[in-house]
């Protein structure tokens, strides 16, 4: 499937980059960070967040339920993924990630050469407070910083609030549509040769 999707003609951005601290609409102080490696403490905190996640808000089978399946899922996609985590009082309360769309992540030379799949989850008690929008923008900022240009996602077709959110930041429908709506965004390159230390 790689390389087959329709992307917008014009790049979106620039987007803010983590780390940042914002106040949400409930007056809570929310800290957004991009862990360098998605392992150890960062991973453990996000696993804990997903064990608290209300399964009625699952989308297309993720996140899985049960700590072991959650850990297994995150470890499987974790190593080569790009992550941002939002915290309140130290606890992870929202997580957004990009996973490379390739059969062989170890063969990635430049992150801009491949497409990245996006997903974002916000704990129920923190939804409708502007955190998702901020986290999404910071993930795209982080993505741009590390040389990613093409990002896509699927969203359930009837999930209008989510589709509206993605459209606001620059995602457009790719035309591939069944029960899921596929959307894509083009990020401006970092202006360098894509081979700097932010690249891999």
């Amino acid at each position: 499937m790689s390389g087959s999707r329709q992307y917008p003609d014009e790049p979106s951005g620039p987007f803010p980059s983590p780390p940042t601290t914002v106040e949400d609409r409930e007056g809570r102080s929310i800290e957004i960070r991009a862990p360098e490696a998605f392992a150890d403490e960062a991973l453990a905190d996000v696993v804990e967040m997903y064990t608290e996640f209300d399964p009625t808000d699952r989308a297309q089978g993720i996140p899985p339920t049960g700590e072991e399946r959650i850990r297994n899922w995150l470890e499987t996609i974790g190593e080569d993924s790009v992550n941002v985590v939002a915290r309140h009082d130290g606890d992870a309360i929202a997580h957004a990630m990009l996973v490379p769309d390739t059969d062989d992540p170890s063969a990635i030379e430049h992150r801009r050469d491949i497409e990245w799949e996006l997903a974002i989850f916000v704990l129920q008690a923190y939804q409708r407070a502007g955190i998702g929008t901020t986290l999404l923008k910071n993930l795209l900022g982080r993505a741009s910083d590390v040389g990613i240009e093409r990002v896509w996602l699927t969203v359930e077709r009837w999930n209008n609030p989510a589709i509206a959110l993605y459209e606001r930041v620059g995602f457009e429908s790719t035309g591939t549509e069944s029960f899921e709506q596929e959307m894509a965004i083009l990020l401006a390159g970092d202006g360098g040769d894509g081979n700097g230390e932010s690249d891999r």
Binding site: Q60, I62, I77, P100, D101, E117, A119, E177, S178, F179
Partner: protein, 123 residues
């Protein structure tokens, strides 16, 4: 039970073929296989047709009709199902995105929304 299996040319279809043959052997269902015309898929219609015959052979199952259906895969399969007396229509149950999201394609959606029979999605 009278079962109609619809096959495209993806890995998902190969898995669905294998599972359905295993199930047919266990319970002694009557099976018909329809191989769909899906030019963009990994295996051609002819390759998939041959793969179905080989799998039936290996499974030692006889009396199975294997047909090639021309035209739009979803509607061709549903039309075929309507012309026979099938209790169940079996198709592949979706692929996983890199993220692990379950994705159902347009053919699956068409079949689910249009088939007059029970539809089984094989995962």
């Amino acid at each position: 039970m009278n079962v109609l299996l619809g096959l495209g040319g993806s890995d998902e279809s190969v898995k669905t073929l294998r599972r359905t043959i295993d199930r047919t052997r266990e319970v002694g269902d009557d099976l018909t296989i329809a191989v769909l015309d899906k030019p963009e898929s990994k295996r051609s219609q002819d390759e998939m047709y041959q793969q179905a015959l080989d799998a039936l052979d290996e499974g030692d199952i006889t009396d199975v009709a294997v047909e090639k259906l021309e035209g739009d895969p979803g509607s061709a399969l549903v039309n075929y199902a309507e012309q026979g007396e099938y209790d169940q229509l079996v198709i592949g149950g979706g692929t996983l995105s890199p993220m692990g999201k379950i994705q159902l394609g347009p053919i699956t959606e068409f079949v689910l929304l249009n088939a007059p029979t029970t539809v089984k999605l094989v995962r």
